[in-house]
């Protein structure tokens, strides 16, 4: 990569990067780049953080601690009988074949939705650069799914792909594909993956469009003049320059797949058939709110929380270190 051509980062791109990346590890004050903090002293930043921390305390830490406590109890829903059972709820889960299956399904689901959302989003974002006429319309259409409530999206997809009445299922049948998500576990999983990816696609798309737009034309043109083909330009210039966004999306997509797809699963398959789409977050709901098994549900939440934290830590440790947020001088 050329050492001379990179100009300072445009302000728009700076604003697009999530706060996550601006905090980061302590650096010398004089360091340049977007990870450097502009604050002198600690009072003002703390004051600015206070409202957010208060909200976190009220709506995350207190409920989380109460949930944590329930994980070690066996109690009836109305709370008249409470037994302390130690780690029993958790060991029972780890022993249960259903829970391990749910864990496996969640992994499949999260990896598939992340990969699908990101790759299709990237292709569409690239295409946006090439579209000259009707670019606004193109972008608006792609952003529409994000405005649809997840439950509605789930219901629409369930209808479209319903083997009895759905037009999309009818098309598949006409092509000779035996499509039946009501009975076949694989079909059901595919359906929820497609629904969840479709719903989340525009999120990746908008971030990638913005990231691509922020790459200075001059750099790419210089590379083209130097004789780099499109693939080479992507691998050596474009991708490294959008790497922070890619990393951010990777984290967000995983979080989305694991934790925010409850409504879609509930509307599309209700976790069925034969629990084939009952991913961890859906199982937490069913065990807690349908089966009223609060202890097990809380234990599952705790395990889910541990999983989320460790996944994010791993992602930061393994990947973030290879990303440069700095613009070399």
């Amino acid at each position: 990569m050329s050492q001379t051509a990179a100009p300072s980062l445009p302000a728009t791109r700076r604003a697009l990067l999530p706060g996550l990346f601006r905090r980061g590890r302590a650096r010398p004050r004089e360091a340049q780049g977007i990870k450097a903090s502009g604050f002198k002293g600690q009072a003002l930043p703390l004051l600015l953080l206070a409202p957010q921390l208060l909200i976190l305390l009220l709506f995350f830490f207190i409920p989380a601690i109460r949930g944590l406590a329930q994980a070690f109890l066996l109690q009836d829903p109305f709370g008249q009988e409470v037994h302390f059972v130690g780690l029993e709820n958790i060991t029972a889960l780890l022993r249960s074949a259903e829970y391990r299956e749910s864990l496996r399904l969640s992994a499949v689901f999260a990896v598939a939705t992340t990969a699908l959302t990101f790759s299709v989003g990237l292709v569409l974002a690239f295409a946006t650069d090439r579209v000259t006429r009707g670019r606004t319309a193109y972008r608006a259409v792609l952003l529409l799914p994000y405005a649809i409530a997840p439950a509605v999206a789930g219901f629409v997809w369930a209808f479209l792909f319903n083997p009895l009445v759905g037009p999309a299922a009818g098309l598949l049948h006409a092509l000779g594909i035996a499509w039946d998500p009501n009975r076949d576990s694989g079909d059901a999983m595919l359906l929820v993956i497609l629904t969840a990816s479709w719903k989340h696609l525009c999120y990746d798309y908008i971030f990638l469009v913005a990231a691509l737009a922020a790459i200075p034309r001059s750099v790419i043109e210089a590379a083209a003049v130097d004789g780099a083909g499109p693939l080479r330009r992507f691998a050596n210039i474009t991708f490294p320059m959008i790497a922070p966004t890619v990393f951010f999306l990777l984290v967000m997509n995983t979080v989305y797949g694991l934790f925010e797809t409850f409504a879609i699963i509930d509307a599309t398959t209700r976790g069925g058939p034969a629990a084939a789409t009952s991913i961890l977050v859906y199982k937490v709901y069913v065990d807690g709110f349908v089966n009223l098994d609060l202890g097990s549900s809380a234990a599952q939440s705790v395990l889910l929380m541990i999983l989320a934290v460790s996944l994010t830590v791993v992602q930061f440790r393994l990947i973030e270190r290879r990303i440069s947020y700095d613009v070399s001088q």
């Binding site: 009836d76 109305f78 009988e81 219901f155 083997p163 759905g166 009975r183 509307a267 058939p273 009223l292």
Partner: protein, 440 residues
């Protein structure tokens, strides 16, 4: 939209009643009795109409119905409200939540409440399978409200096209008919979402197969499932065979099973008698109904009920309890029962109500609404047909469905699936037993 309309009507009715009350002198405003329910659509409107009738019938209490979503949502809301001491006076809880509510310590048994409030109710007149289901220690624990039982609806046109008059009485003969209809170009049948209730639970009761030890749980919390050693296993195999051969279809998400039937795209439909309202509303559908089939060589007995009951919650002052009792007495009246039965298709809860509906000639007009009552009182009830009393019943049922669906998809043999369902179910029962030891 439809749910908000009646509420507005209540407000309007309340506003209209206000000057009336004032003119009677210094009467206080009626005491509010909050009633949480889970009836949506047409039946929800009927329920609100019933509360309006009650409110208009007396000046002291005003029952306010609040729709809380599905039965699952409702029991959750009840738990949450009770824990924060904001519970309503009355809640409608589905039959599967019976043990949870009974042993919750959060309820006043209805028969006790009514006795304390000096209401004379002929408890002996409640239809046996209904009373039996909800009676504990000699008294009804909750007020029967919307009781149903599955029956077999069928499309007359599809049967006629295959040269058949109506569904056969046994499963074996019915299967032959379904094959004949399929061969003559007819559609398969649609399976209701709550198939476990009709195809496993009612199936066992009607054919007198043991479902669990200790009289299906009536005898004690140490009950254990045994349906993996009964023809329920063959029944799972039958469903799989029917699904494989296109005789049966799963509606799944995105479309309601009843809509598939009312659209004329299903030969038969085994569903709750409450589906009557959907049948009546369907245009140009030639339908009829018969009792559920039974196994060849067995004597068909009574089916078991489903639906929900009204529970009076603890923690309310005496005048509130009086209001709750007044409303429950209104619900138990034969006139209310008959009105509700006609309006919704649910079963009348008392013999008096059944006799009244009959004397009014209702069953000449709607013969299919009598099937459920007759089916519920068919034969002499045995220990296997009285009903089911399991703790965490929703959880054991969901585990059973999961395993059955593995068999439907061919991932397990029916025997293996039911063995696993029973093993999982028993573990769940033991959890309930441990928490509630000594309380039943």
């Amino acid at each position: 939209m439809s749910a908000t309309f009646p509420r507005r009507m209540i407000l309007a009715a309340g506003a209209a009643a206000l000057p009336l009350l004032r003119s009677r002198g210094a009467r206080a405003a009626p005491r509010e009795i909050r009633f949480w329910h889970a009836m949506s659509g047409v039946n929800g409107e009927r329920l609100e109409e019933m509360t309006r009738q009650f409110n208009a019938s007396q000046p002291d209490f005003a029952v306010t119905p609040v729709f809380k979503g599905s039965y699952d949502d409702l029991i959750n809301a009840t738990v949450a409200a009770y824990r924060t001491r904001t519970q309503p006076q009355l809640v409608q809880i589905y039959e599967r939540g019976f043990m949870t509510m009974l042993l919750s310590g959060a309820v006043v048994p209805v028969q006790e409440l009514m006795a304390a409030q000096k209401y004379e109710i002929d408890w002996g007149d409640f239809i046996k399978p209904i009373a039996g289901y909800y009676t504990h220690k000699g008294g009804l624990a909750a007020m029967p409200f919307n009781s149903s039982t599955p029956i077999l609806f069928f499309n007359k046109a599809h049967f006629a096209k295959a040269g058949l008059e109506k569904p056969a009485e046994t499963w074996q003969a019915l299967e032959a008919q379904l094959r004949q209809m399929k061969a003559s170009g007819g559609p398969g049948s649609i399976m209701a979402d709550d198939y476990h209730w009709s195809w496993f639970e009612n199936y066992s009761a009607i054919n007198d197969y043991q479902y669990a030890t200790r009289n299906n749980g009536f005898g004690g919390l140490d009950t254990e499932f045994t349906y993996n050693r009964t023809p329920v296993v063959q029944q799972v195999g039958r469903i799989k065979r029917w699904l494989d051969d296109g005789l049966l279809q799963v509606a799944g998400q995105g479309v309601a099973a009843s809509a598939v039937f009312t659209a004329g795209r299903s030969a038969t439909f085994i569903a709750s008698t409450a589906a009557h309202s959907a049948m009546v509303a369907a245009n140009g559908l030639e339908w009829d109904a018969v009792p559920l089939p039974y196994e060849e060589g067995r004597a068909a007995r009574n089916s078991v009920i489903g639906g929900a009951v009204l529970w009076a919650l603890r923690g309310h002052p005496e005048p509130d309890n009086a209001g709750t009792a007044a409303f429950l007495a209104f619900v138990a009246k034969p006139e209310t029962q008959v009105w509700w039965h006609k309006a919704t298709g649910y079963v009348p809860a008392t013999n008096a109500a059944y006799a009244l509906a009959k004397s009014q000639g209702w069953y000449k007009e709607r013969p299919t609404q009598e099937i459920a009552v007759q089916q519920l009182s068919r034969g002499e009830p045995t220990a296997n047909s009285l009903g089911y009393r399991f703790g965490n019943f929703t959880q054991t049922m969901l585990a059973q469905r999961e395993e059955a669906e593995r068999a439907f998809a061919g991932q397990k043999s029916p025997q293996q699936a039911m063995d696993d369902a029973v093993a999982r179910g028993n573990e769940i029962l033991r959890r309930f037993e441990r928490l509630n030891a000594g309380r039943y």
